[in-house]
Symmetry: C2
C-alpha cells in the first residue's frame, strides 16, 4: 500500500517524502499538506483574492491536536493527579520554549530554508512544528498524529519527568531552605475568586497565595487551585532568595 503511492511521486517529491519519513516514521501520503506546513507567510504565494498559502491555519489545527493528545497522555500517565497538575504539566510540554526546541531538533528548519526562508527565529520553528502536526493529522488522522506526538516528540525530545520535577519541588526546596536556616515557613490565602468560569485565563488565576518566612510575606502568586498557587508563590520566593533562576533551575 505505502509503496504504491510512493511510486506515484516524481523524483523531487520522492526525496521530500523520504526526508519526511525519517522524521515521521512512516511514509506520508499527501505531500501538499507538509509542503504547506513548511511555508512561512513571508515566502508564501498569494492568490488573486489575497488568500495566503502559508502554514498559519495548519499551526492553529496542530496546536489543538497537540493539546488534546498531550492532555490524554498526561491523564493516563498520572492517574491520581488533579486537573491543576495536569494542566500545568501540559503547559510546560507545549510551551513555546519546548516547541521551538523540538522543531529545531527535528531539523524542520531545512524544510523552511528549502522554501526560501532565510532568517529563522526560534518562534518560527515552534510554529512550524505545530503546523507539521496539523499536516500529519490531515494526512493520516488522529491516531497517527497521536502516535507521532507520543513516540516521536515526547519520547525523543521531551523529558517529562524532568519537567515534572522542575516545577513540583519548589515547596520542598523552600521548606529545606527554611529548615536549614531555622526560619518558619507558612502560606496564606490572600484571595479566592468565585469561579465564574468565564475564561481560562481567569480560571488559571483564581487563587492568590502569599509565602511567609518568619511571618513576613516574601512573595505571592496565583493559580487555578491553592496547591498550584502555593507552588508558584514558592517559586517566586526562591527566585527572590536567589536559590533558583527564572526558569526554576537551581543555581549552583
Amino acid at each position: 500500500m505505502l509503496k504504491s503511492y510512493y511510486n506515484l511521486y516524481f523524483s523531487k517529491q520522492k526525496a521530500f517524502a523520504r526526508e519526511l519519513k525519517t522524521i515521521l516514521g512512516f511514509l506520508p501520503k499527501h505531500l501538499p499538506f507538509y509542503d504547506r506546513a513548511f511555508t512561512h507567510k513571508s515566502t508564501a504565494n498569494k492568490d488573486e483574492s489575497k488568500h495566503s498559502f502559508d502554514n498559519e491555519r495548519l499551526e492553529y489545527l496542530g496546536d489543538a491536536i497537540l493539546d488534546a493528545v498531550i492532555a490524554e497522555y498526561l491523564f493516563r500517565k498520572y492517574p491520581t493527579e488533579d486537573e491543576g497538575f495536569l494542566t500545568q504539566m501540559r503547559s510546560k510540554i507545549v510551551s513555546r520554549k519546548t516547541l521551538n526546541r523540538v522543531g529545531a531538533e527535528m531539523g524542520l528548519d531545512d524544510f523552511l530554508k528549502a522554501r526560501g526562508l532565510q532568517r529563522i527565529s526560534p518562534t518560527v520553528m515552534g510554529n512550524c512544528f505545530e503546523a507539521f502536526v496539523g499536516a500529519i493529522y490531515l494526512d493520516k488522522g488522529y491516531k497517527a498524529a497521536r502516535k507521532f506526538i507520543i513516540y516521536k516528540m515526547l519520547q525523543n525530545h521531551v523529558d517529562v519527568h524532568l519537567l515534572e520535577r522542575i516545577d513540583n519541588n519548589f515547596k520542598s526546596i523552600l521548606l529545606e531552605f527554611c529548615q536549614k536556616d531555622q526560619k518558619s515557613l507558612s502560606y496564606e490565602l490572600i484571595e479566592q475568586q468565585k469561579n465564574d468560569g468565564k475564561n481560562k485565563h481567569h480560571r488559571q488565576h483564581r487563587f492568590k497565595v502569599a509565602v511567609l518566612i518568619d511571618e513576613k510575606a516574601l512573595a505571592e502568586a496565583t493559580g487555578p487551585n491553592k496547591k498550584t498557587a502555593e507552588q508558584n508563590a514558592s517559586k517566586q520566593a526562591l527566585i527572590k532568595l536567589g536559590v533558583v533562576d527564572k526558569n526554576g533551575h537551581k543555581k549552583e
Copy 2:
C-alpha cells in the same frame, strides 16, 4: 456486539445505559466513565489518600478533545478564513455560555441530581458537559467523540452561522450607523507588539486599534491581528453608542 455488553449490565445500570443512549446515539460500553462525569466534587467519595472521585479530571480531558474537534470542524468548514477568524469562532463555540446551555439542553442535570447534587449552577452544567465529552472519549475513542460533538452537540445545539454573524458584522453595523448620520469613520493602529509568541494571551492582544468617528477616538480594543482588533474596537464603539448590548446583540 452492542447488545452483548448491554446484557451484562444489571437492571439499574441498564436504565442508566438506556438514558445515555438517547443522548449519545449509541449504547455506552464502560458506564463507570459516565458515572464519574456526573459526579460533582461536592458529592464525590474520597479514598484514604484523599483522592476525590469527581469529574474534574474528565473535564480537563473533555475540554481538550472539544477544542481539537471544533478546531478541525472549523478548519474544514471555512477553508479560506485565516487562523484569527478560526480561533475566534472556536472561542464562541466553546464559551462558558454555550457549554452551560448545551449541558442543560441535553438534560445532564438529571444525572447530577441523581448523584445527590442539589444546587446546579450554569457553570456546573458546562463543566459537566466537558466531563461528559471526556467520558465518551475514554469509552469509545476519538472518532466517536468527534461524531458526538459534530452531530449531537453542534448540529442540535449550536447555531454556528448565527455565531459567525454575531461577531463579524460590527464593522458594517458601525459603518451603516456613521453613514446614516453623515459622520466619518476610520481606524487607527495604536500599537503593534512584536510576536514574541510566548503565550496565547499575548498573541490574542498583539494589535491595538482605535475607532475614530469624525476624527475623534471613541473606543479601542486589541486582537491577534488588525482585522480582529478592528472588529473588537467597532463592537466597543457600538456599545458606547448604545447600538448593541454587551453581548453584541442589536438593541431594539
